[in-house]
């Protein structure tokens, strides 16, 4: 991550602009309290935390820059969604779909964009329209399976 992803200007801009970043070396004894607090087991392990330390979103594994940015934005959107800021979450999911439509995070963004819009409006049409887009744009995605009862 340090040799490729964190050197890409788009990654630096996103991380510094939207987050307070911190790295924890899991090999150091001094890291043990944080490793135990978050029950970390395998690197790379990226967490999106609230200011209270709550773990809103996480993933394991290396991502190249063009996948890292949309994945991190989906984490930001998930934090907004789970904080019941549905309009704010929808804005971020739409940004991911507009800028990174072919990223591995895009189908998840489409799935939760539909959910965020539905929660904001309580209009089932929003949900079904969003999931229809998921079916047509990302037909082979695991996220399509999660709404397949509606097909």
């Amino acid at each position: 991550m340090g040799t490729v992803t964190y050197r890409e200007p788009a990654v630096v801009e996103t991380v510094n602009g939207l987050f307070v970043p911190i790295q924890v070396n899991v090999k150091e004894d001094s890291s043990r309290p944080i490793v135990e607090r978050y029950r970390h087991v395998w690197t790379p392990d990226i967490r999106v935390l609230g200011a209270d330390g709550f773990d809103y979103y996480h993933w394991n594994g290396y991502l190249p820059p063009f996948e890292f940015v949309p994945r991190l934005l989906v984490g930001q959107a998930q934090a907004r969604l789970r904080s019941r800021d549905f309009a704010g979450a929808a804005n971020v999911y739409e940004d991911v779909l507009r800028r990174f439509p072919t990223s591995e995070a895009a189908p998840e963004a489409q799935y939760f964009l539909a959910a965020a819009k539905y929660e904001a409006s309580q209009n089932p049409t929003e949900l079904h329209a969003g999931w229809h887009r998921l079916q047509t744009r990302y037909p082979d995605s695991p996220w399509r399976v999660r709404q397949s009862y509606s097909e």
């Binding site: 991550m1 340090g2 964190y6 050197r7 200007p9 990654v11 630096v12 801009e13 991380v15 510094n16 939207l18 987050f19 307070v20 970043p21 911190i22 790295q23 924890v24 070396n25 899991v26 090999k27 944080i34 490793v35 978050y38 970390h40 690197t43 790379p44 392990d45 990226i46 967490r47 999106v48 935390l49 609230g50 200011a51 209270d52 330390g53 809103y56 991190l72 984490g75 930001q76 934090a79």
Partner: protein
């Protein structure tokens, strides 16, 4: 001739500092557990 300075990620030095800054600046924290290779 001036040399262009590449932007770098500005890492916080402790989780407490990161959480306090996040509270102050209205941001989230990105926590990266890593193992040096």
């Amino acid at each position: 001739m001036a040399t262009a300075v590449k932007p770098t990620v500005k890492w916080a030095t402790s989780l407490d500092e990161a959480l306090a800054r996040a509270q102050r600046e209205g941001k989230l924290v990105m926590l990266d557990f890593f193992s040096p290779t």
